[in-house]
Amino acid sequence: MARLINRIRFGRGLVLLVCGIYFAVPMAASLWFSVDDNKGGTTFRAYTELLNAPGFTDSLVLSLELAAVTVVVLLLLLVPAVLAARLGAPRLRPVIEIMCSMPLVVPVVALTTGIIGVLRWGPDYLQDTPFFQTVVAIQDPNFPVVLVIAYVLMALPFAYRAIDAGLRGVDVVTLVEAARNCGAGWLRAVFTVVLPNLRSSLLNAAVLTVALVLGEFTTASILGFTPFSVWINSNGKSDGQMSVAVSMLSLLIVWLVLLLMSAVGRGRKAARS
């Protein structure tokens, strides 16, 4: 028995070691690459010149704006629908579930193809209608609404799962019944009782969405906009070192945000109990 346990320990150690190397080496090497001056020394040029790089701030700001708007739109659309399905209309549930799984079925490239197909209707068939103005307006390079639409669709499955998982741990029906019996109106019950209980899963959904938007490349690049990820790519063709530096930074930032979020969630739970 002792030998068996030893063998299991050994197997576990080996698996963790191999995987640890595979996941750590690229990060370490990239970090080294971003400060390597090719003469055996180190230089932080890639990091110090970052802010002055052409297009860096513009694309970053655009990405952050897109992320913020996407999160707001997504939650405004999704939360009422999910709550409604839980509270009042159970027959809605399969409908929402299917809607929220569909974007998983359609690869992003294919979705983009469809979006381009729709955008082409503008000049092809709708030249003289107000729809044409709309089609032009949502492609404004300063703030491409069409990207928000695409990102909300892409984030729908992940956000839905996060919120659904949160709802599973909370007996919303009972909570609302209790609040209603205490005289609270519908809105009050939702805002002061249900949503605070869902805080961590809403946060989770928001983080997933932000991570998705900041990293999204396919749609933006094919449609010809320049948010952050597209900028990294085009900049990398001219300054590989800086792009590696930015890649490492973006990974680090997403990680920190996620850790922070989970820490906040846990602190809240601990404070409550």
Binding site: F23, P80, A89, G117, V173, E177, N181
Partner: protein, 328 residues
């Protein structure tokens, strides 16, 4: 949810177990109010909420119809009609787009994508299971949580940063390549196998995330029962754990296949079109890189991709349902 004592026993349990049975509802709102006040069973109140609940879901449905429905229609229609720059002015029915999208370079690319996805999904499944098991059974809670959050980050870490990270590591002038002189040993990142190595970087964490709930659902009693009956660890895995895990494993495999099949950014930033992949071809075709009059070819390619992805999902969903049943 079912057995917890509730502050409003009669009404709440009635409402919960009602299962949507519609009641008589002449003036639903009023009857709901009286029901709350008197504490009487009130199927009518449920109905009232139901009718308003539909309204709350309406924005999502509308958004979905426009944002998702229209592009779907555009693909379905465009794939079967000639494009607007065709000699006949466009809009006539044709199957040329579709047959064209399944020939020559496009067929090679589609097959290349399927091969790459099958290979990487298989490796990631085989590697991900022991890794997830090693992590899930670890005694250190902080370690478990760190790995899970790291997996969450890395699983979504596809895309451009990943490509650059591997170019810096294993590319032609990457740090590891130079240190170990890998180029002399025939290593080249910008190939099919190089791309596979890169894809595993987000597929393995995805597998860990997917399979961990299933692993945690394996009851300790099963293992104890097996070992009480004299089963070795190997026999336990062979006859108890793996059969229970199989639907989850297959489901995870299919999910990984889908993720790998749909990936675009990493390959685009890293290898360009030197490895033929269907997603690259679509990107090319959308950027106008096709012959005049074949503008709708990209839409047909998109349709091909959706068909493959639908097949994948048709496999995945029953598997997932099965595994949920096992582990409930």
């Amino acid at each position: 949810m079912t057995t917890a004592p509730t502050p409003v026993p009669a009404t709440a349990s009635a409402a919960q177990s009602g299962g949507g049975a519609p009641g008589p509802a002449s003036s639903p709102t009023a009857s709901a109010v009286t029901a709350v006040q008197t504490g009487a069973p009130r199927p009518a109140g449920r109905r009232a909420r139901g009718s308003r609940a539909w309204l709350a879901a309406l924005p999502l449905v509308l958004f979905f119809a426009i944002g998702f429905g229209l592009p779907a229609v555009a693909i379905a229609v465009g794939a079967f009609t000639t494009s607007s720059d065709a000699p006949d002015g466009g809009g006539t029915f044709t199957t040329d787009n579709l047959t064209g999208s399944l020939q020559g370079a496009y067929w090679t690319a589609l097959w290349g994508s399927v091969k790459l996805s099958l290979l990487t999904a298989l490796i990631a499944t085989v590697v991900g299971l022991p890794l997830a098991q090693a992590v899930a059974t670890s005694r250190f809670r902080a370690f478990r949580e760190a790995v899970m959050s790291a997996s969450g980050v890395l699983a979504n870490f596809g895309g451009v940063p990943l490509a650059f990270m591997f170019v810096a590591t294993l590319g032609n002038s990457g740090e590891v390549t130079r240190k170990l002189g890998l180029t002399e040993h025939g290593w080249n990142l910008y190939t099919f196998s190089g791309l596979s190595v890169v894809y595993l970087y987000f597929l393995v964490p995805l597998m860990v995330i997917t399979i961990t709930p299933a692993l945690e659902g394996l009851k300790a009693q099963w293992r104890e029962a097996a070992s009480n009956n004299g089963a070795t660890s190997l026999q336990y895995w062979r006859h108890v754990a793996l059969p229970v895990l199989l639907p989850s494993l297959l489901g995870g495999f299919v999910l990984l296949f889908g993720a790998s099949f749909a990936a675009y950014a990493t390959a685009e930033a890293m290898v360009g079109s030197s490895v033929p992949l269907i997603s690259m071809q679509i990107g090319d075709a959308l950027s106008g890189n096709v012959l005049v009059g074949q503008g709708n070819l990209a839409l047909a390619l998109g349709l091909d991709m959706i068909v493959v992805a639908c097949l994948v999902m048709a496999l995945y969903l029953p598997l997932q349902r099965r595994s949920a049943k096992w582990l409930a």
